[in-house]
Symmetry: C2
Subunit: 242 residues, 2 copies
Amino acid sequence: MNLNKYNQIYQSLSSDIVEGKYETGDTLPSEHKLLKSFGVSRETVRKALNLLQENGYIQKMKGKGSVIIYNPSMNLTVSHLTSFKEVQEQQEKIYDTKVYSLEKRPAKDCPPVQEALDLDDEALVWELIRQRLYEDRTHIIDTDYFMYDMMPGLTEEIAGGSIYEYIEERLGHKISYSQKEITFSPMTELDIELFGPIQPPYTANVKSVVHLNDATPFQYNVSKHLASEFKFVDFSRRFTGE
Amino acid sequence: MNLNKYNQIYQSLSSDIVEGKYETGDTLPSEHKLLKSFGVSRETVRKALNLLQENGYIQKMKGKGSVIIYNPSMNLTVSHLTSFKEVQEQQEKIYDTKVYSLEKRPAKDCPPVQEALDLDDEALVWELIRQRLYEDRTHIIDTDYFMYDMMPGLTEEIAGGSIYEYIEERLGHKISYSQKEITFSPMTELDIELFGPIQPPYTANVKSVVHLNDATPFQYNVSKHLASEFKFVDFSRRFTGE
DNA sequence: CAGTGGTCTAGACCACCTC
DNA sequence: AGGTGGTCTAGACCACTGT
């Protein structure tokens, strides 16, 4: 994994930053020093630095250098596509996952799903509802739809663990990109059943359509959070170019 | 503006895609063809294609080509840092802006602002509250704090237009990146005064700290939306490398 | 096999910042 | 003037995809 050089350099520098070897406001060694110390060409170093910049670790400044702008309180940036399990590992909370239901259904029962996953009328989908519990209380309800044909062997046991791990490691697919939408809505009856009588009875909903490397949409996910506990953190840049 | 070649190529290709010269699922001409037709080197074409990929226009596939994945319903991606005015122009709604108040205040009256903008106890800030109206109803309340020293000449008139335009074009600063947080909260008294007695009395809040090119934080913004109308759209990629 | 994108190199010129 | 990052080039080799 991670065979290419610029990713190795990125990993190396980003962990230095996270571990505090550089303070916020410090500058990284210059590109010239880095290319010497890593024994690579300048463009290779620059690719690594661009990754650091895109992900909010540094700000490059012409004539000055690469300044560390990393802010530890920002490291729960949900913006980059990660599975629930990956997000969880960054934070300190450990949730239990409980599978509420796993059913095979006709795609055409749920038009938004059928459309988002680009399925014909005969296609089947898995419908998976999971609760994320912390100290015996449900904090998140995840509802997922997957193309049945892609993973006919899905079981409750797999669904209770990391589905992404299953898809990437067992099925050999590569997960690539997603479109997300965040909205707020009143709880449904099912929400109240699973969350309990929480006030206010609103949820924050993160809907995402996740695509594989070859651009096929394979997952339709709605993740409902208790609205009052919800926080989405993002880092974004205005333009990439001049 | 946009002197460099890869940005020109990016602009050219992205507008072709938006205008529908390519359908979703089509492939772009190969890198080889593009470098010949634009008369540039391959790395230059690739920088443009990487921008297209990062911004969700295409998905590059080894051995196949660059496939269009652009989805018109996705073009209101708020994720990339844009001013309210810029976002508004992408959508079709036209809001009126009304300045509710513009006051000079000591930074230390508001500790979160003082900390985020990295100000000392004597520093002053502008506090600006604006309503965004659509058909005579307030839909968004924007509360902003700016460093007073950076723009002592701020007026209600400027605040009623595009502050970003003022900062970038008149003051010559470059806006670079921001950290955002999305949360949900009950309305305050001021919210109810400005929004009116809306049900449910909750707002979706986008808090952002915006930084200039030289990494100085210059704006602290809280944008409150009616919870039931709020929608945040995002495009994100899992990894950039292998 | 030919065509595609992915990585990497060595070198060039430029714009910006600091001294 | 010397150091920094930003852009661009021409060429190389590799891995993947299709026929």
